[in-house]
């Protein structure tokens, strides 16, 4: 058995899971490094929970192998894997006090009473539950129950902590607070964290890497800025946040990048256009686009008309339509928006070449 307190390194190779004829997970390969904070992100039904359950040992994969620190644990029962797990809805023991809930994994491991007392006390302090030790879960608020679940899953120093949408039942303020607290716990314990969410901003804010799921397939794995700025496909691009798409024609490779025609204007692109055949989609995040009153020679840009605006406080969101009818939204400083709207709504839309990326035309 592994030593407690040491972060685990997990390798999933070719994991597949079928429920009858339904394919919940398909050929999933993922390496999770020691002490990493990996987030599984995807829409409802994409297989995130199923994968987490396979990691925990509650669900047996139909194909594939699972390794922890180099040992094959695919057939090892859940109680011997001893991954810490925080369930959606907490799953606390309702008949046990906060203290007894947290002590449970230590009692199961037959630790001495003195040791249990010391570690439970430490954990209660660490998650900020001092004064609540004798209460039953039903007597706690949602946020406090969440802390008990975290404490219970961490007290036996598991190599990996699995969290299934732990904050989905909390209100926004508490959510932010718990996210910060979890980041702190991750640093303090150094344990490997695997975290499930379908909230993209939560995923980007917390993780060292994000794994994006859809329909049981792993679409892309990468650091938050990587998946946000260089998404592998249209689904990832759209799932991670708002994105503008402009149709391109005549895409051709050129020195350090590519060139293309966007609404009959020549534009330049960074990154390779390999595998793209003439037509493609140019994708750019709204915050990387800006507007000007007229074209600057040598810079990417097209003409557009402002059709509406939304005042956001820190900025204004402008909705634009290009000459050929593509809809685009841009986030600009408030006074820029006012000027644009005062100028007969006709604007020049520009973006830096390195902030746009190519997606294949049509489909994914």
């Amino acid at each position: 058995m592994r030593q407690p307190g040491r972060a685990a390194e997990i390798k999933a190779i070719g994991i597949g899971k079928s429920f009858g004829s339904f394919r919940a997970l398909d050929n999933l390969t993922l390496d999770i490094g020691r002490g990493e904070f990996v987030t599984l992100l995807g829409p409802s039904g994409s297989g995130k929970t199923t994968f987490l359950m396979i990691l925990a040992g509650f669900v047996q994969p139909t194909e594939g192998r699972l390794f922890s620190d180099g040992t094959d644990i695919t057939d090892r029962p859940a109680e011997q894997r001893a991954a810490g797990m925080v369930f959606q809805g907490y799953a606390l023991f309702p008949h046990m006090s906060v203290e007894a809930n947290i002590a449970f994994p230590l009692k199961v491991r037959k630790q001495s009473a003195a040791e249990i007392k010391r570690r439970v006390g430490e954990m209660i302090e660490r998650v900020g539950l001092v004064g609540h030790a004798k209460k039953l879960p039903a007597q706690l608020s949602g946020g406090q129950q969440q802390r008990v679940a975290l404490a219970r899953a961490l007290v036996f120093e598991p190599g990996v902590l699995l969290l299934d949408e732990p904050f989905s039942a909390l209100d926004k303020g508490l959510r932010g607070q718990m996210q910060a607290e979890m980041k702190r716990l991750h640093q303090a314990t150094g344990t490997t964290f695997v975290f499930v969410t379908h909230d993209q901003s939560e995923a980007l804010a917390l993780s060292s890497r994000v794994a994006i799921f859809n329909h049981g397939k792993l679409l892309q794995v990468g650091a938050p800025n990587e998946v946000y700025e260089r998404p592998a496909n249209r689904f990832v691009a759209e799932f991670l946040g708002e994105i503008n798409m402009l149709p391109l024609k005549g895409v051709r490779s050129a020195d350090n990048g590519a060139t293309a025609l966007c609404e009959d204007r020549a534009i330049s692109l960074r990154g390779s256009a390999e595998g793209i055949d003439g037509n493609a989609i140019l994708a750019i995040r709204p915050e990387y686009m800006s507007i000007a009153s007229e074209a600057t020679p040598g810079e990417n840009g097209i003409a557009a008309t402002a059709t509406g605006s939304t005042y956001l406080g820190t900025a204004t969101r402008l909705d634009l339509t290009t000459k050929q009818g593509a809809r685009v939204s841009v986030s600009v400083p408030n006074e820029v928006a006012a000027a644009a709207l005062g100028n007969g709504n006709s604007v020049w839309l520009t973006w830096p070449a390195e902030k746009g990326f190519l997606l294949p035309d049509g489909g994914q």
Binding site: A56, G57, F58, P77, A78, E79, Q80, R81, A82, A83, G84, M85, F87, Q88, G89, A91, L92, F93, P94, H95, F104, P105, V108, R109, R152, A153, F156
Partner: protein, 277 residues
Amino acid sequence: MKGYLSDRMGAALLMAPLLLFLALAYAWPFLGVVKWSFTLPTPGVGQYEALLTDDLVQSVFIRTLRIAAIVTLVSVAAAYAITVVWVRGTPTQRLVAEFCILVPFWISVLTRAFGWVALLSNRGLINSWLQAVGFISEPLALVRNEFGVIVGMTHFLIPFAVFPLASAMRALDDRVLLAARGLGSSRMRTFWSVFVPMTRSGIIGAAMIVFVFSLGFFVTPAILGGGRSVMVAELIYLRIFQSPDWGLGAAISVVLVLFVGALMALLFRYVRPRQLI
């Protein structure tokens, strides 16, 4: 809490016709019984004094409590095992368990009591088989005694214990059991330290129902006890229809009803009525 209260109001309204029927069919005649207990054969509390001194009455009460306690213990334990299979087993196991739970309801209590006599009597199936195989030379006394009564009553009452247990088990969140396993607890340990405590309200409900039913049992003890293990209900019958000593029979009835009432009050302090269904 608020929802629970308004639920209760709604439930009370729905139950009103039934409550009225129960009042007319049971409460009214029972008042007559109370009256007898204070007036027959002479007015006063003489019958209740007799209860306290009558050795037979006391031994019957003690036997009734003892049998009820044993039957409760055995029925609830057996029902618990069946219910676990019924609620958490594979589809086939569930079907078999459901069959075992429902079939007894289709056979009358009288038929079942005589069925047990046929099985347990000196020339019954069990004794003949044991003798044929050579395990025993003399037949075992399996019937016309407390053992027979306990067997028959347990068999009758197990299905009644199943329902409160099943509702408690169904209410249990599967993830809590998974959580226990994930935290390192074996199947056995998870069963004893999480599953069983979490179904406590069902166990209390089942035990109370079985115990209260047992106290008033008549047919099964009368047949399987063969007049030798008389329980309270049979004693009341004997006092009223055979002795006849209506006053004493009525007084025993009143004591029994009060005792059962007190038990029910205790039950509903621990378990909400809806948890019993």
